[in-house]
Symmetry: C2
Subunit: 381 residues, 2 copies
């Protein structure tokens, strides 16, 4: 075991290749988190009342610097699911309007759009992605599907089951030219790849801070570009502008959501600090090398072709398509039950993908164990 | 200081008479809370994935026993605000339909109903309450305001600013006879007064577990009577019935809300245990006596008449109306800034109320200090 793993609570008897689903919060960050919770308990009225706005503003400012946006363009939420629900329920969709997405979206959000569009009489449509992914082809193909009723573009920045980094910048640029709203699901992005929200230019964006930015569960953000904030309607209505009068109606309406623990949000700056110290360039380069190795090994083991040419810089997940003859769910279960290897297998467009996440605590010898187990299991399934 | 106060993190230099706003979580319960958070971090996939449903079911069952309802009639939410938003957004209100409430409701929920009704073209109306409160008169007066367009009755079980225990049982009975939906805001109820949801017979009810039930922030419940559950539409749409298939669609749709910390919910059983051990009958009787004393003293100090005849059994809050000539906000600020006495002063129907909460850690000598300070301040404001 390397020393980095000692910084996490993760059980040492498990080979943990699934940071992507829920992340892992390091011990020093958990300490900061607990200190905030105790600080709250010492004087709840001061903390949740008089100090609340200032504390949250400071936490937003630290995240805004990390994401390069104005601090009044982001508000903390519990997870990307919450942010995307707020956006989807808010935006004005008329009967016949179309929300155009990809066929690589996260299942729960795919379902959410289906239901929201159905309620509003709008159309939710998924553009079929050609794999292996080619960025230019992807963008052209996506826009070949845009038509005058397309009012919203929704796509993942990094897809979930397939771990693909999608060319969202090009998509957003063309969406902006056409006056189509862009909503980006960056659930897997913060901490994994550098994110510059101002440069990216999306109308709405969300990211989780607990996956790759070392924050505790319950820390995520909703970004709304200043000029589009008035399109959002509070989803959970509380005091809002009846009580709060900062210079941002967006913050006033969306930040206070009844009594809740602010500690996950207040701990994000500590997650960012940890990230700066440990998710360094050499560490990231090493992870990339390990993922490239993973891609090659899995291609050999399963005798299936990867869905990307090469691992993009900074990416920490790789998903490999399983051949149809293999029962991926069974494979996953056996890996865990027999070898305590944790990784997800999920289905996208009728293909099962085995996804490997590499966080700073993973190392090559763990991968070698995985590959050996996979080879053995494939002959014994 | 009594020994009970050592069980809490609350600062000893502050006289804390505001348990009502945010509650206080005892150290032993916070320990349980932290253990759940670490347990999650040890194996996030197992905890938030494979074990999630079972863990939450157990936590719901413990609360359901405490509230006397079926465990599939309650789902954990972060706070009463969330629960009431879910209900209000869900229910079918046509143009002209009326939501009838009291003029004692919590400001944020009052605003929420105003906005929701406006969006739906419905009418939100507040029945004027005659004070001092008389239960029979209150019920009769409330129903004198009911008419054929009244589709929903909304009221607090214990009001916030005025700390009044309202006769909700009688209101619900008559609402049920008339086929009017009843929605009860029990934000301040669990742990303060015994609650039997089955006997009460409300259609929808919500309560916070962090105020008087010793749970951590972020623990509350939404109750929906079995026969009315299909009126609720998920507010935050996630996997729902695309992924979960228990025997309760209500639980499947409302329990999973994206990745979040389950620890506040899982800690509720520990809060209940603490409550059983410390909020005993003699302790409650003593609190009642102290509140009766408070009522008498404040009536003398302010020379205003109390809004209740006597402190109801189990109640742990008392709100006294301030005379118009006193600036309540200034009084409150001075109490804190000069004497470190924490209590809320809030306005309801143009009257300012000073509210005293007595939790198990408060004692009579603290009250005597408060009264002495008040007397002094009143001659020096």
């Amino acid at each position: 075991m390397n020393k980095i793993s000692d910084l996490f609570y993760l059980r040492k008897d498990i080979l943990f290749f699934n940071n992507g689903s829920f992340g892992a919060c390091p011990k020093p960050v958990m300490d900061v988190y607990r200190n905030w919770q105790i600080e709250l308990e010492k004087q709840p009225v001061e903390f949740l009342g008089r100090r609340r706005e200032t504390l949250l503003k400071e936490a937003r400012e630290a995240l805004a610097v990390f994401l390069n946006c104005i601090s009044d363009e982001i508000v903390y939420v519990s997870n990307a699911t919450t942010a995307l629900n707020i956006i989807a329920h808010s935006i004005d969709l008329q009967a016949g309007d179309e929300v155009l997405a990809t066929d690589l979206e996260y299942g729960a959000m795919d379902r959410m759009w289906e239901i929201v569009c159905e309620r509003k009489g709008a159309v939710y449509r998924r553009v079929k992605t050609k794999l292996p992914l080619n960025d230019d082809e992807f963008v052209d193909n996506f826009f070949a599907n845009v038509h005058p009723d397309t009012k919203v573009i929704f796509l993942s920045h990094i897809s979930s089951s397939t771990a693909l980094l999608l060319p969202v910048k090009q998509i957003i640029e063309r969406a902006n030219q056409k006056g189509i709203l862009s909503i980006i699901d960056g659930a897997h992005v913060p901490g994994q790849i550098p994110l510059d929200l101002t440069e990216l230019g999306a109308d709405f964006y969300t990211g989780n801070c607990y996956k790759w930015l070392f924050a505790p569960k319950g820390a995520a953000f909703l970004y709304a570009r200043k000029s589009k904030q008035d399109l959002l309607k509070p989803f959970l209505i509380s005091w809002g502008r009846k009580e709060f009068f900062s210079n941002s109606p967006f913050i006033d309406e969306f930040e206070y959501q009844g009594t809740r623990d602010l500690a996950p949000f207040l701990t994000v700056p500590a997650g960012i600090e940890f990230h700066k110290e440990y998710s360094t360039y050499p560490v990231k380069q090493n992870i990339r090398k390990m993922l490239e190795y993973t891609k090659n090994e899995l291609s050999k083991i399963f005798n299936t072709k990867a869905i990307i040419e090469e691992i993009p810089e900074n990416i920490q997940m790789y998903a490999h398509p399983l051949p149809q003859k293999i029962n991926g769910k069974l494979l996953k279960t056996k890996l865990y039950d027999e070898y305590k290897i944790e990784l997800p297998v999920s289905t996208q467009n009728n293909v099962e993908y085995l996804r490997i996440s590499l966080q700073i605590f993973n190392n090559k010898s763990e991968l070698d164990i995985l590959f050996a187990r996979l080879k053995y299991l494939l002959t014994h399934l």
